[in-house]
Amino acid sequence: MYGRAVAGDARAYAEILRAYRPRFLRYATRMLGDRDAAEDVAQEAFVRAFRALPQCTGPDSLESWMFSILANRCRTALAKRARHELLFARFDDQGGEPVVDAPMTPHTDVTAHQVERALDALSSEQREAFLMRHVEEMGYDEMARVTGAGVSALKMRVSRARELMRAHLAEDV
């Protein structure tokens, strides 16, 4: 399948697209806080990846390589937008419809709204590191390859992100 996709077979790439789309859309949505913008960015990333497939070193690095393209697109999109636009990005924008209809967890009363506000408190670098580490469950070595940052810097960003998230979630208690 990989070989066919590299050769330009769109049908083979369609299978790859279907496999990676859920994770890529989730990441882009959490980074940008805007589902429409996330779809645009993810779409662009998939198109770019297809066109650059011959540059990928092999099938075992495909997902990570494509994810790095997505992460770059997200960073570019964020850089273009003013910080204050993000503060009002909602899980439930677009007419109040929830992007995620997630149940509240037992024994805690964390809501999507609280999570979005806590995430908004992070810098884009902290948010990126936090999402990669804890939502995407990536290892630090992979995160370093994807972001170009050093492992130590990434660990500090994750640690700081956790502190800020905890603090904001606690404020709402």
């Binding site: 399948m1 990989y2 070989g3 299978e15 279907r18 496999a19 990676y20 092999g58 075992d60 995407e136």
Partner: protein, 211 residues
Amino acid sequence: MTRWVAVLICIASSLAGSHIAIAQRVLDVTDLDGRVAPALAVRIRILADSATAVRLPTAPLIDKALEGASKRAPDDRIVAAVHSVLDNLRVARHSLGDTATDAELAAGVTVLRAGVSPDALAEVHRTLHRRSLTVSLSVLGSLVAAGVPPSTAAKAITVQANRTDDAGMLAFGRDIERSIASGVPAYRAVEGATGGMPGPIPGKPTPRPKP
């Protein structure tokens, strides 16, 4: 009479039911069908393609994916685990050489992921020469799981491999695990089982010089 016949039938049925012959065969990507979600299957297949391209076995990758799916692990975690297996298969191939069997490579992956260094794995391979590597590596992995530091476990296996056969190696591992389970420190359990190993043993307290 009818009652005794019924009893005999029950006994025969339970005996028949309790003996299960497993038609074991080497796993391949088709085993993912119906067991994991299609999107996850594609992600695993891509990794399996990568293994195939460099003549590494795909069965350990499929096995790990099926394990994760059965245990209802999140897809991303399954992919990460399969990726780790693939990465370590490459390292195991490098440490064990081109003639390593699929079973030896799989056993090598286990000990690498447990923290045994590639060099230590290569050393175990060199020491055992043509002898069964799979059993020794299996015992090595279990020793690490029991709490023996990876380098100590590798050293112990290397020492013991020259003294015993496969059955003896399994018994060696069991003895150490039982000692540790009963509260004996790992280094002492290893020392006791090997009759002393040359060189420093990680974890063993260094004797203080007398005043």
